[in-house]
């Protein structure tokens, strides 16, 4: 077994509540230099039952131990398809923590926040150049909120035209957020079947004057560029609809193709994917949205304006869809993304895309004999295999769990839904040939194990912190918080 997964001392650690010792506190309060006053007694609560009591050392040990049970991009290869788990540069963490950014209150007057506003404005301009859209909002908190903002703008545009359209077309390869977003905007979802890519005929057949928009992902979740995208956009426009593009896979297009040039009306970015901001074990992300000129008046407020005497946040925009969050953006994430963009520059952004596509195709070439490849077309930044050829009752989940034993994070599994037992591999550009080879060697070895010793797959993982966890039990008998026993 040629694995980087190996032995190590794993320390056990209880829940923070179980570590608690009465009377401890991990924080010394600043001296109270004003008279202590008693609030209205009738308003007061009792002690916060169950809250932990710990020293600073207790807390540090607790979270340090927990961290060692995690696997991050800094630990190793993390080829989650559609998630673009590229390396998160460390200087970005440093600049996001500069006091002038980290301690800036969002209600600070604009004339005392010029540096922050300039950064946002410059990032906005750079993202417009990269995507080909003339206008953009940085406000959405994540990709899904970006989709929401985009679809609200589409709805608002139709309403302004006096259109009453109630359907949204969504290909069967789409992320689940697309249909969920359309529903949140009051639309009925009409799925369209695709055969790897979307045909003009399929869109033409579904496109009538009740359709507000088509939501498309390009390249799609099979890693395939939609070759008919220009014609499809023309068709949708000619029948009075708009086109939304899910930009989750933008890492395949930097400097090569600009979605805004293709006729697409709205697209969200995932800064935590394409622009290297850390995923944080689930967030925060940031989901800016680029729009065509026709949709510009509907952007969420506030917008950032550059005027003669500086930058300003402007909320007075009568056609705007409104505000999406308490304050203007996930600013700390924007700082990191902009630092990434400036570190890379235009040539290396394009280079990143080229190498991401090279890496994905290299993995594909190395694994093609060992795993079933359902779509033969040339794919871009990711490649999707299926478990169709695996013998001895071995499935995608078993392969994924066995990969843990070898020391790798598994690919995205069972997505897209159109592929049986999908293994969706997106290596990104920040992995070297050596890393990819080790990963491919592991997957090839696992395919062999499936033939010769399938129990190794079924029993996996054995090297991880826990054995396979019982997800059915968790759902059947939900325990969502600790309770004192």
């Amino acid at each position: 077994m040629s694995a980087i997964g190996s032995k190590g001392l794993i320390l056990n650690e209880k829940l923070i509540f179980e570590r608690s010792t009465a009377g401890r506190c991990g924080y010394d309060l600043p001296l109270l230099d004003v008279p202590s006053v008693e609030p209205d007694r009738s308003l007061l609560r009792d002690e916060i039952e169950g809250f932990p009591e710990l020293s600073e050392v207790d807390v540090v040990r607790h979270y340090t131990r927990l961290s060692t049970w995690n696997y991050g991009v800094d630990s190793g290869f993390y080829p989650l398809g559609s998630c673009t788990m590229k390396y998160n540069p460390k200087i970005n963490e440093v600049v996001a923590r500069l006091p002038g950014f980290a301690h800036l209150h969002p209600a600070t007057p604009d004339h005392l926040s010029q540096g922050a506003l300039q950064l946002m404005y410059d990032l906005q301009q750079a993202l417009c150049e990269i995507s080909g859209f003339p206008a953009l909002t940085l406000q959405p908190s994540a990709g899904a909120q970006g989709e929401f903002a985009g679809m609200l703008m589409i709805h608002a545009w139709h309403q302004a035209q006096g259109n009453k359209r109630h359907k949204v077309l969504i290909p069967d390869t789409a992320h689940g957020t697309n249909p969920a977003t359309a529903a949140l905007c009051g639309y009925d979802v009409v799925p369209i079947a695709s055969d790897g890519v979307l045909s003009i005929e399929a869109v033409a057949a579904a496109m009538d004057d009740s359709v507000a928009a088509l939501m498309i992902t390009n390249p799609n979740t099979l890693g395939l560029f939609e070759p008919n995208i220009r014609e499809i956009c023309e068709l949708v426009h000619s029948r009075g609809g708009l086109v939304y593009c899910d930009g989750a896979n933008l890492n395949a297009l930097l400097g090569i193709c600009r979605p805004g040039d293709l006729g697409i009306d709205v697209m969200h970015f995932n800064l935590h994917k394409t622009f290297a901001t850390p995923h944080g074990g689930g967030g925060p992300g940031a989901g800016p949205v680029g729009v065509s000129a026709a949709l510009e008046p509907f952007l969420p407020v506030p917008v950032i304006m550059k005027e003669e005497d500086g930058y300003r946040l402007v909320a007075d925009r009568p056609l705007s869809i409104g505000q999406l969050r308490t304050y203007a953006s996930q600013f700390g994430i924007l700082v990191r993304a902009y630092a990434y963009l400036l570190s890379m520059g235009p040539q290396d952004l394009k280079r990143a895309t080229e190498l991401a596509v090279l890496n994905a195709n290299y993995i594909r070439a190395r694994l093609e004999g060992s795993y079933h490849l359902p779509y033969k077309q040339r794919s871009l930044h990711e490649v999707i295999f299926s478990d169709a050829d695996l013998p001895n009752d071995c499935h995608t989940l078993d392969v994924a769990k066995r990969l843990l034993d070898y020391g790798f994070h598994p690919p995205t599994i069972y997505f897209p839904l159109v592929v049986q037992g999908a293994l969706m591999i997106e290596p990104t550009e920040t992995e070297s040939k050596q890393e990819l080879d080790e990963f491919c060697d592991a997957l090839i070895a696992i395919a062999e194990e499936a033939k010769s010793s399938p129990h190794l797959l079924h029993e996996a993982p054995v090297n991880a912190r826990t054995r396979r966890l019982d997800e059915t039990l968790a759902a059947r008998n939900p325990r969502l918080r600790w309770e004192k026993s």
Partner: protein, 450 residues
């Protein structure tokens, strides 16, 4: 480029394995008429040292150095952040991980979030909390959507005028194209939600009553009586807390009958960061568990019977239910939730209530002195926590400008959100404001009266 590990020789050998001549051949799937025929026009790349200088220059221009006193609240609060937090979340096993889809190698995140869910329940007095939402305003909007889901046929939602104005706007955005009527409940003269108006406006079509606690004007609402009214007509009581530190001092919304408690967790160890990322939370009753939006972590066992944690009840979510999901949410605020857990663990049962008391004492000290100043008055004398409104002798914008000359950011002008309050200024005090700052503030206000 230092982030790109490839060398020419390696690329050559990879291309050979793939069986193509050059990298460009890999892009054959993109039609010519979709290609960008030019280079991107972006700034030339910066080396790390140059980058750092550039960002230092951008960050220099602001009001955060020690020479300024700041009294800004309004939903984001300047509390001291223990050094431990940044130290711990800089462990990249935490911050460079993805959503914990592979629980066997994500137990760190999963357990930390399970603890977050528990801490939020304990603080709010509620039964179930999710793994976090984007921020306070979007959490409030999700609470409204959830209340509508839970009471299928009802289509009205009542929002108190005391609710954070941005929260109200975000709710409006979220229900923009759904068949929902939003009704504003006025405030009574004491700054609390007007109970008589609530009684009049409540009917069988109202799904939820949403109230701030404390409200945007700093006033502590009577959640218990409002809950009773809401429940009597079958509506859910939603409490939105922009400053949840108040809950360490005042009765929890849970014990006062709230059905859904949402809020912003930024106060608990997160930097202000110009308004984001923060961390929204939502806590509910057991009966509404399956209507919750967002991620949930649950306890289970592994194959050997050992305790472990997994993402659970995902049949509510978009990746399974698609257009029938409880929300379109995919991410949460992961690392920010961990920051909150670390903060609450450090302060804990003993420190957090004391911090809340001290905030109250500092606020009372300032509030009483300003109230005694000629020309200034308190429009509301009801109990507050660490924020309060004053009426200035001249437009608040002029007062703010005058105090800026003394390097004091005096508060938030209420002219746009609450024009009915004459020359209203919203002032916030935390443990970051020592007595010297408070005294200087009072002096400066005195000087700005004329």
């Amino acid at each position: 480029m230092r982030y790109l590990p490839h060398c020419d020789q390696g690329i050559r050998s990879m291309l050979d394995t793939i069986g193509v001549e050059k990298i460009n051949d890999l892009f054959s799937g993109i039609p010519e008429n979709c290609r960008l025929p030019r280079d991107l026009e972006l700034p030339a790349p910066l080396a790390e040292a140059d980058l750092q200088r550039h960002f230092q220059a951008l960050a220099a221009e602001s009001s955060v150095d020690g020479s300024w006193s700041r009294f800004l609240g309004g939903g984001y609060y300047d509390h001291h952040i223990p050094a431990v937090i940044d130290h711990l979340i800089s462990r990249s096993e935490f911050y460079t991980a993805y959503t914990p889809y592979q629980p066997e190698i994500s137990q760190g995140t999963l357990q930390a979030v399970f603890e977050f869910q528990t801490l939020i329940c304990q603080l709010t007095g509620m039964e179930i909390s999710n793994a976090s939402l984007y921020d306070g305003a979007s959490a409030c909007a999700e609470a409204v959507l959830m209340a509508l889901r839970c009471s299928r046929k009802r289509s009205k939602v009542m929002l108190s005028r005391g609710l954070q104005p941005r929260y109200r706007e975000v709710v409006m955005t979220y229900v923009r194209y759904l068949d929902v009527e939003l009704i504003e409940v006025p405030l009574a003269a004491d700054g609390r939600t007007d109970e008589d108006a609530v009684k009049q406006l409540l009917d069988e079509d109202v799904a939820a009553l949403v109230v701030g606690y404390p409200n945007y004007l700093g006033v502590v609402e009577e959640i218990e009586s409002l809950s009773r009214l809401a429940h009597a007509s079958g509506a859910r009581m939603v409490v939105a807390a922009a400053e949840p530190l108040a809950m360490a001092l005042y009765r929890s919304p849970g014990e006062q009958g709230a059905d859904i408690v949402v809020g912003e967790g930024q106060s608990f160890g997160l930097p202000l960061s110009y308004g984001g990322p923060g961390v929204g939370f939502i806590a509910v009753r057991q009966k509404d568990m399956r209507s919750l939006p967002g991620r949930l972590v649950g306890e289970t066992v592994d194959k050997d019977g050992e305790r472990g944690f997994v993402l659970t009840l995902s049949t509510r979510e978009q990746h399974i239910r698609r257009e029938k999901a409880t929300s379109n949410i995919c991410s949460n605020q992961g690392i920010c939730a961990v920051m909150v857990s670390i903060y609450l663990s450090l302060l804990g049962k003993n420190g957090l209530p004391q911090l809340a008391r001290d905030n109250y004492s500092r606020t009372t000290y300032l509030r009483e002195q300003i109230a005694a100043l000629p020309g200034y008055s308190l429009p509301f004398t009801t109990s507050v926590f660490n924020e309060f409104v004053i009426s200035c002798p001249r437009p608040a914008t002029e007062v703010l400008k005058r105090l800026e000359e003394d390097k004091i950011l005096a508060g938030i002008d209420l002219i746009n959100d609450y024009p009915e309050i004459k020359n209203g200024l919203l002032i916030c005090v935390t443990e970051q404001n020592d007595r010297a700052q408070l005294d200087r503030f009072v002096d400066a206000l005195k000087g700005a009266a004329a």
